[in-house]
């Protein structure tokens, strides 16, 4: 068979034509006769005991369900302490108390507004600071600490006494939303086999099936679930959002139902990025080697844990970033508060940690008389060295090569030489793991069938808009020795598949790519139907993750002298993520990730006042517009990862990690070393610093 070159090239997106012509079917596009529209009775207050719910008169064909209608009233997750519907203790404003279903959305909303609630209002735990107070009310019997994490390698205390420079600081990052274009949505019906059928905007069709099974008491075999076209996820559709409510309605009424979040519901009560308070202390030798680091992180997980404990673990694990440090002490606390639950968001704790560590590293570089690139090169981690928890780095690491390539870039030349005083430059390094981590089932199943037209490739993983469908089709075509156009990717449904877990943790290309290659091998050996299975390799030593991708991120900014606004003008990055499957798609993810974190750096935030968000629309939650995104350039270092599909590693979350510290360091260089420790950047801080200068 002729050698094909399907990987390493920018194949056109398979989903492109349907999306640009409007043929793609999103969940909210599904209109079927007799569909009940679902609205939720949500708590008006952040913290209360629910004494009673009085339903209004329900016209024929309208329904109201409360916790007593739910078979097993919890949503399966890490701790599974979140109810489908609160029945006694209300823990956040907007928490679901009852489900209303009616023939029209207007009627459903009207009935919701007529429901009377009997509440005993409690004092609000309005954030991390409140949660830590001795006399604050408890969200759960055991208090407000949801989980903790501690790790110590070497002897940090002793090592700090031997350091010639110690830098230290406290940092804060805001609650951020995912900002996907398509809000949370789900449609349910009973299919012709009598099964409960769920179609939704989801990152994990199987998790929706399990959640619905718990809530309805149905056996898994009597439920089927699939993703419609998904308009963005970024972690915010990893777990239950809208799905369980219409599932309950359709199960109990036998009627079709659907639930589509309004943008206000999405902003207020969709999942969130955790607000963080971090502290880091880093000790250096005279020549710039990091001898010791002591880092801590507090995260606000809101009213329920969801994936918070994993976010804390990953954030802490990534805290000392990409550096080889002999003595490392790490501490973290995840706190319950009366805020809407935070869960997965692209970066998963790593951007919060990098904001602290990378800024401090640049401050140390200035004090040591080292260049920002140089201090990173001195300390860059290599394969075979021990990570922050003591486990050995077992896989390829190309950080040093990425730093060298960045050093050759026009961006860095300009950063070193540009004499124009109105521009500031900074850089930072981001590191991001892929895979779900130790002790978490992380297996992908693939089925390939030979057809008349070519091959079908099936998996339950979902293309949530990032383009995995195209990258995986390229891998399949390459492995099968055929063309991409002969591959029919069928993704995101439970029917005919096995559980391959969530489309999350930058894992799809690696774990599904390897499963595809395995199945393709069997097809090439003559089978017409073949299955492939790949389990994501676990770290063998003391570590949570074992595969890491790296990015050197540069930022060039100017400052508006009247408003204090920071205006990024150029972001250049060098990315090391093994071999590249599709350069255009990869650049798309990188540029999108940078824009996402520019939002958190410059303008995005959810602020709570007594448990209620100040932000409730896209007019006041300030996402960057196309006019706010600067020139973006990226190049790659392709260091082959031998265990990856055609040498690739996962990277979807990577570009979000180092943006904020690169930008704040650039501002700092322009403002005489101004230390920015809080995001989004406060323009008043800039104006005040400008006045002094």
């Amino acid at each position: 068979m002729k050698e094909k070159n399907c990987v390493g090239v920018s194949a056109a997106r398979l989903d492109g034509p349907d999306k640009v012509t409007g043929r793609a079917v999103y969940t909210a596009d599904i209109h079927m006769e007799g569909t009940l529209e679902v609205s939720l009775v949500r708590s008006p207050v952040a913290h209360a005991m629910l004494k009673g719910i009085r339903a209004p008169h329900l016209p024929d064909g309208s329904f109201l369900f409360t916790a007593s209608d739910i078979a097993d009233n919890h949503i399966p997750s890490i701790f599974s302490e979140q109810p489908v519907l609160a029945s006694d203790h209300i823990r956040y404003q907007g928490e679901a108390l009852a489900i209303v279903a009616a023939p029209t959305k207007e009627l459903a909303d009207k009935l919701v507004s007529k429901v009377e609630l009997d509440l005993d209002v409690l004092q609000t735990v309005d954030g991390i600071e409140d949660a830590l107070k001795e006399d604050s009310p408890h969200l759960f019997e055991n208090g407000n600490i949801c989980s903790t994490f501690h790790s110590e390698k070497g002897d940090t205390e002793k090592a700090f006494t031997e350091c010639s420079l110690i830098v230290e600081g406290s940092f804060e990052t805001p609650v951020q939303i995912h900002g996907f274009m398509e809000p949370e949505a789900a449609f349910c019906c009973i299919d012709d086999k009598g099964r409960l059928s769920i179609v939704s905007s989801t990152q994990n069709a199987y998790s929706d099936l399990y959640t619905a099974a718990t809530a309805t008491g149905r056996d898994h075999e009597t439920i089927t679930s699939r993703a419609a076209t998904v308009g963005g996820g970024f972690g915010g559709k990893d777990g239950n959002t809208a799905q369980v409510y219409p599932a309950v309605v359709t199960h109990l009424t036998g009627k079709r139902s659907r639930f589509i979040y309004s943008r206000e519901e999405n902003i207020r009560w969709g999942m969130k990025r955790h607000r963080s308070l971090t502290h880091a202390k880093i000790g250096f030798s005279k020549d710039g080697h990091i001898l010791a680091a002591d880092c801590s992180m507090l995260l606000d997980t809101g009213a329920y844990a969801m994936l918070g404990p994993s976010v804390l673990r990953l954030g802490i694990e990534h805290f000392t970033g990409a550096y080889h440090i002999p003595n490392v002490k790490l501490d973290g606390k995840l706190l319950y508060t009366n805020h809407a639950p935070a869960s997965a968001m692209r970066g998963f704790g790593a951007p919060q940690a990098a904001f602290a560590f990378e800024n401090l590293l640049n401050r140390a570089a200035a004090k040591l008389g080292l260049d920002q690139l140089e201090i990173r090169k001195i300390n860059a981690v290599h394969k075979g060295q021990k990570g922050p928890m003591g486990g050995e780095n077992e896989h390829e690491i190309g950080l040093e090569e990425a730093l060298d390539k960045f050093a050759q870039s026009p961006f860095y030349m300009e950063m070193k030489n540009n004499p124009v005083p109105r521009y500031g430059y900074g850089l930072a390094v981001g590191m991001m793991s892929s895979g779900l981590g130790k002790h978490v089932p992380d297996t992908c199943h693939v089925i390939i069938d030979r057809t008349e037209e070519g091959f079908t490739v099936r998996t339950s993983l979902v293309d949530i808009g990032q383009g995995s469908q195209t990258a995986l089709a390229q891998i399949a075509a390459q492995a099968l020795g055929t063309d991409v156009c002969r591959i029919d990717m069928q993704m995101g449904q439970t029917d005919g598949n096995q559980d391959s877990g969530s489309t999350a943790a930058s894992r799809s290309t690696f774990v599904c790519g390897n499963a595809i290659i395995q199945a393709a091998q069997k097809i090439k050996e003559g089978q017409d139907h073949a299955e492939g299975v790949c389990a994501f390799p676990e770290a063998s030593g003391e570590a949570i993750h074992t595969y890491f991708a790296f990015m050197v991120q540069g930022a060039k900014v100017k400052i508006n002298p009247e408003s204090g606004a920071v205006d990024p003008v150029w972001m250049h990055s060098t990315t090391e993520t093994g071999c590249v499957i599709n350069p255009t798609l990869l650049n798309g993810q990188i540029f999108g990730g940078i824009a996402m974190s520019l939002g958190m750096t410059l303008s995005e935030q959810i602020r709570y006042r007594n448990g209620i968000t100040l932000e409730n629309s896209l007019a006041n939650y300030i996402l960057p517009s196309s006019m706010d995104v600067p020139r973006l350039t990226n190049d790659f270092v392709e260091k082959e990862e031998p265990t990856g599909p055609f040498g690739a590693k996962g990277m979807a979350e990577l570009p979000t990690v180092a943006v904020a510290p690169a930008v704040t360091s650039a501002v700092s260089s322009l403002m005489g070393g101004l230390e920015i420790n809080r995001l989004p950047i406060d323009r008043m801080e800039i104006l005040k610093a400008g006045r002094k200068a």
Binding site: N560, P561, E562, S563, G564, A565, L602, S603, R607, L614, E615, A619, N620, I622, L623, P624, S625, S626, M627, D628, R683, M684, L687
Partner: protein, 244 residues
């Protein structure tokens, strides 16, 4: 959202419907349909002819009330003769909204953050109103709250040799103003209008006392300290540009 929509074809007909129903005049709806969804009667003006043109008169530029921000932005007459208004139009919202939103609607929505009103106040604009008969009023004297007449056109004097508009928002497009300011100068006549620093756009004719008339509040967009600091900087910038 449900309401009765009236679509009159003449000014007279529109006024008649207004008298009968007490309804609200609707231009493009970029404000009303988003922020004021609970109206019983809306009177759409878009089928009434003659409200959508920009014309040069001897001392004024006459702008029909249904002229869109996009039309203002594309007009070389506005750009040349009324730069403050052109800059305000150019910096309002984004292209989709500028394609719909009208100057009359922007005046009528009576927001302290209306970019065009800040420019128009500085430029000493007048409005022509119709309520069965036509009358004319200086924008600075217009009492919106007890006025039920329809704005049919805006008359902007050409006498200001210098005018400029500045806006600070939270992002570079699709952004409500945190503060905006316009300055128009004709020799010794100076007019400075500031938005978002009180319940309505504030006009001041003496550059040295502008800051005394501003009374910002702490809100989601910024603190009093921040808004005051920016007002001072914008004023410095505009007065310098105006040669004051």
């Amino acid at each position: 959202m449900s309401y009765r929509l009236h679509i009159p074809k003449t000014l007279q007909e529109a006024v008649q419907i207004k008298k009968e129903t007490g309804g609200t005049y609707l231009a493009a709806g970029t404000d009303i349909l988003v922020n004021h969804r609970h109206k019983d009667d809306l009177i759409a003006l878009e089928k009434i002819p003659g409200l959508s043109s920009i014309e040069e008169e001897k001392d004024y530029v006459r702008i029909g009330s249904l002229v869109t921000f996009n039309q203002l932005e594309k007009s070389s007459l506005v750009k040349e003769k009324l730069p403050a208004l052109w800059q305000a139009a150019y910096n309002t919202a984004g292209p989709q909204i500028r394609n719909r939103a009208t100057i009359g609607g922007n005046i009528g929505c009576f927001s302290p953050a209306s970019d065009s009103v800040t420019a128009l106040l500085a430029l000493d604009a007048e409005v022509e109103l119709f309520d069965g008969k036509t009358c004319r009023e200086k924008l600075e004297n217009l009492h919106f709250l007890d006025n039920t007449a329809m704005i049919t056109s805006v008359l902007v004097p050409k006498r200001f040799g210098f005018s400029a508009f500045e806006k600070v928002g939270k992002r570079n497009a699709m952004s409500v103003s945190v503060i905006n300011m316009a300055l128009a100068r004709n020799g010794s006549e100076v007019r400075i209008a500031t938005g978002c620093m009180g319940p309505q756009v504030i006009l001041c004719k003496d550059p040295s006392s502008v800051l005394e008339f501003l009374y910002p509040i702490n809100d989601r967009w910024g603190t009093i300290e921040y808004k005051t600091a920016v007002a001072r900087k914008l004023l410095d910038k505009l007065t310098k540009e105006a040669g004051l």
